[in-house]
């Protein structure tokens, strides 16, 4: 599914003394099957933007189109389009509430009127996709799971609605390095297995560079940059001026360059960076 955002604007508490502009003139298109990362400083409007993409928030102006359908229309097609945009919030495990894992994952499809059998089939396939064995964990209370498992179950709760676009707001927040890596591997797998369009909000530039085909940079409610990781992360100074950075490999190369080593700093992969450093040292 193709997501098109046109001149999107949102103002919080319009007309009140605490009025603040959260988004202004944001336009971009994410093509079907694309993996895009959204990066931005805290308060840059990332979360507000995400909530607009499946109609949780109504734009003050501009519109959001999913395969050409304005998702804020009151029609059945618009509701259907909203269902196809799955949104996984930060700390999604806080949304778990049912008695068993399976029932909780069924909640989404049930709300959209699927039959109990269909719900269960969707739930089981979603649980398998996130790496939770439905036969072992399906009948357990979600509150008995570990932190990482809870998060997977919560993500399965969104996947069970068969979205065509999956939006994840910092899915790795608060996890240990292994949990972090596992969740990202899972996202990658979902992207390839189901060929979903993915929008990933991240604070981690390494993740963004490694996973995404496309990077959107938000700053103070504006779309500051939009391009491939290669394009975006080569703007070292601009990124730093808006409180962001480049992937750690590139940060290190920039430091080495400043100290006088003749390296190309626009390398974002650790292995390639190591080779570049070795090359530069050998040429010395």
């Amino acid at each position: 599914m193709r997501i098109e955002v046109r001149d999107l604007g949102y103002i919080y508490s319009e007309g009140m003394p605490f009025e603040s502009v959260a988004l202004e003139g944001v336009s971009f298109t994410v093509e079907s099957g694309e993996f895009a990362a959204v990066i931005g400083h805290t308060g840059s409007g990332k979360s507000t933007l995400l909530m607009h993409l499946n109609g949780l928030m109504k734009p003050t102006h501009g519109c959001v189109l999913a395969d050409g359908i304005d998702i804020n229309e009151k029609t059945k097609e618009a509701r259907e389009a909203r269902r196809k945009v799955g949104l996984v919030f930060q700390y999604p495990e806080y949304q778990l509430f049912e008695e068993t894992v399976l029932k909780d994952v069924c909640f989404g499809p049930k709300n959209y009127g699927f039959s109990p059998e269909e719900c269960e089939a969707k739930a089981i396939s979603a649980l398998k996709l996130v790496g939770i064995d439905p036969d072992v964990k399906g009948s357990v209370s979600p509150f008995e799971l570990s932190g990482g498992e809870k998060r997977r179950v919560a993500i399965a709760g969104v996947l069970a609605m068969d979205p065509q676009v999956l939006i994840l707001d910092e899915p790795t927040a608060g996890l240990d390095p292994k949990g972090h890596q596992d969740i990202l591997d899972m996202v990658k797998k979902i992207h390839t297995d189901r060929n979903l369009t993915i929008l990933l909000v991240s604070h981690n530039m390494d993740d963004a560079a490694r996973l995404a085909d496309r990077i959107l940079v938000l700053d103070k409610g504006h779309l500051a940059m939009d391009g491939t990781p290669q394009e975006v992360f080569s703007h070292y100074d601009e990124l730093h001026s808006i409180g962001l950075s480049t992937p750690s490999a590139s940060e290190l190369l920039h430091l080495l360059k400043q100290k006088g080593l003749n390296v190309n700093p626009n390398i974002f992969d650790e292995d390639e960076a190591a080779e570049e450093i070795v090359r530069a040292l050998n040429n010395k």
Binding site: R83, L87, Y94, Q95, Y112
Partner: protein
């Protein structure tokens, strides 16, 4: 979200004369003002109260529009009271339709009650708008301290109130987040009959309770880590002291109350 628009009980930052008064002075003053509204028997009396309140609001620097917004939340109550009074007061009927009738006395009482309610709300919101919640509970704790001899745990009550006030915005935020997350999964909180709606709240309430318990456990741990062990022998960072301002206020409050009683004794409309 609409919940955030409620100004009743909110603090409006400022440094006016009213803001600087000791919370105890403001608490006692507010209680006396509220009592005075029940002493008043005439419109002239209300006019006097309204003028005094108006001066206080002006002094506090809180915009009138901001205060009036607090009324919105209780508008239903005011209208409801007025309507009940309008129809239920016996007296000389001036309009009748079936069992519904309006008496002259009814109109008088309805208007009277509405004014009283509006003034009650303005009076009490002036207190909350100009006093930080923590200062307010500190003031209450001090005022209730003499009752400790009767077994009233005034410090514990004040601490509970401080914590409750502190966590209202946190829990509202939490509610908002969970609601959005469940809405994203197709939950519907707005349509259906009463039974369906009540059932629809389960996906919201269960996670909210889980959150509340988590927050409570974290807070208890943080308090114990800083050696909190109840009110005995506890000192304050910001001690309360009556100043010249409070003495002037005390005299004015007494004068005001005397005036209200005096007006009440005059045969006025």
């Amino acid at each position: 979200m609409a919940i955030k628009d409620i100004t009743l009980g909110q603090y409006y930052p400022g440094d006016s004369v009213i803001h600087r008064l000791d919370p105890r002075t403001k608490l006692i003053g507010t209680v006396l003002f509220l009592v005075s509204l029940f002493v008043v028997k005439s419109f002239t009396g209300f006019l006097f109260c309204a003028i005094c309140l108006g001066i206080l609001v002006k002094l506090s620097g809180v915009p009138f529009k901001f205060m009036a917004r607090g009324l919105k939340a209780v508008m239903f109550l005011i209208v409801f009271t007025a309507v009940i009074n309008l129809f239920m007061t016996p007296g000389t009927p001036i309009w009748q339709f079936g069992i519904l009738k309006i008496a002259r006395e009814g109109i008088y009482r309805a208007v009277f009650m509405a004014i009283r309610l509006v003034m009650l709300i303005f009076g009490s919101s002036l207190l909350t708008l100009t006093t930080k919640p923590v200062a307010m509970t500190d003031g209450m704790e001090r005022l209730f301290r003499p009752l400790a001899k009767l077994g009233l745990p005034s410090h514990e009550l004040a601490m509970m109130m401080t914590i409750a006030l502190r966590f209202i915005p946190t829990l509202l935020d939490e509610t908002d987040k969970i609601m959005k997350a469940q809405t994203a999964r197709g939950a519907d909180f707005e349509s259906g009959n009463l039974r369906e709606r009540a059932k629809g709240l389960i996906p919201l309430l269960v996670p909210l309770f889980v959150s509340a318990f988590r927050i409570a456990a974290d807070l208890a741990m943080a308090m114990e880590a800083r050696c909190y062990r109840g009110g005995d022998g506890r000192t304050r960072m910001n001690g309360m002291a009556f100043t010249r301002l409070d003495r002037i206020a005390a005299v004015l409050i007494v004068l005001y109350f005397a005036a209200v009683i005096a007006i009440g004794r005059l045969p006025l409309f």
